[in-house]
């Protein structure tokens, strides 16, 4: 079975500053990794995902995450945040090719300070 840990429940950061949201996972098999974002009063939507290939994946709005197998991490980064990035971010993991369900972390709430 897989598990995922988001150590930070809330992250405050000044506008235009860089941010890193941490995600660590545990699995005995190969995994897929996801970051979903939930903007205020909206449903969750996929931000980016790692399935295979390049370990660095990017989203269209400037976020990126790097799959680090040795560290069992999939941290989310953005070099300069905007007020519109205010949201809750969920990391998720599922087993590659398996029947194990997708597991979501508890979420990290990103607060952008003006």
């Amino acid at each position: 079975a897989q598990s995922v840990t988001q150590l930070d429940s809330q992250v405050p950061v000044f506008e235009e500053a860089p941010v890193e949201l941490r995600c660590n996972y545990s699995s005995s098999v190969s995994v897929y990794l996801f970051w979903y974002v939930q903007y205020p009063n909206q449903g969750l939507q996929l931000l980016l995902k790692y399935l295979s290939g390049s370990t660095l994946v990017e989203s269209i709005n400037g976020f990126e995450a790097e799959f680090n197998k040795s560290q069992t991490s999939f941290h989310l980064r953005k070099p300069s945040v905007h007020i519109s990035d205010t949201a809750e971010y969920f990391c998720a993991v599922s087993a590659r090719g398996g029947d194990d369900k997708i597991i979501f972390g508890k979420g990290t709430r990103l607060h952008i300070l003006p």
Partner: protein
């Protein structure tokens, strides 16, 4: 293109009453998921459908929860009877259904917020 539609958006009931949630997935999406999200937690999968077949319902508390997707399109999740601890947000999501594992992008609805008094 319409997204995943859920209704109602909010529901308040007394304990021991029944409640039902409805979900209409994105057109053409064969896979449908129901999740439970407690306050301060991430979504937890309750059941996954591929067309009208429930392929993963291991996390669904079958003593009081039931779900159906009769024609392989929209779906209903029911709780009977509701308990205080069932207060949460119930999320529906859908995906294309081209893969049997969980690699596909899921598209989520806005959720139904349930309060049991």
């Amino acid at each position: 293109e319409a997204g995943v539609v859920q209704s109602p958006r909010y529901k308040i009931i007394e304990k021991k009453q029944p409640v039902a949630f409805w979900c209409n997935p994105i057109s053409g999406h064969n896979t449908l998921y129901w999740y439970l999200q407690n306050l301060g937690q991430g979504p937890e999968l309750l059941i996954r459908y591929e067309n009208e077949e429930a392929v993963d319902d291991s996390q669904l508390p079958k003593d009081r929860f039931s779900a159906e997707r009769l024609k392989g399109v929209d779906s209903t999740l029911k709780i009977q009877p509701a308990e205080l601890g069932d207060s949460a947000v119930y999320l529906c999501a859908s995906s294309l259904g081209l893969s049997s594992d969980y690699q596909e992008t899921q598209y989520f609805g806005p959720g139904t917020r349930l309060l049991v008094l």
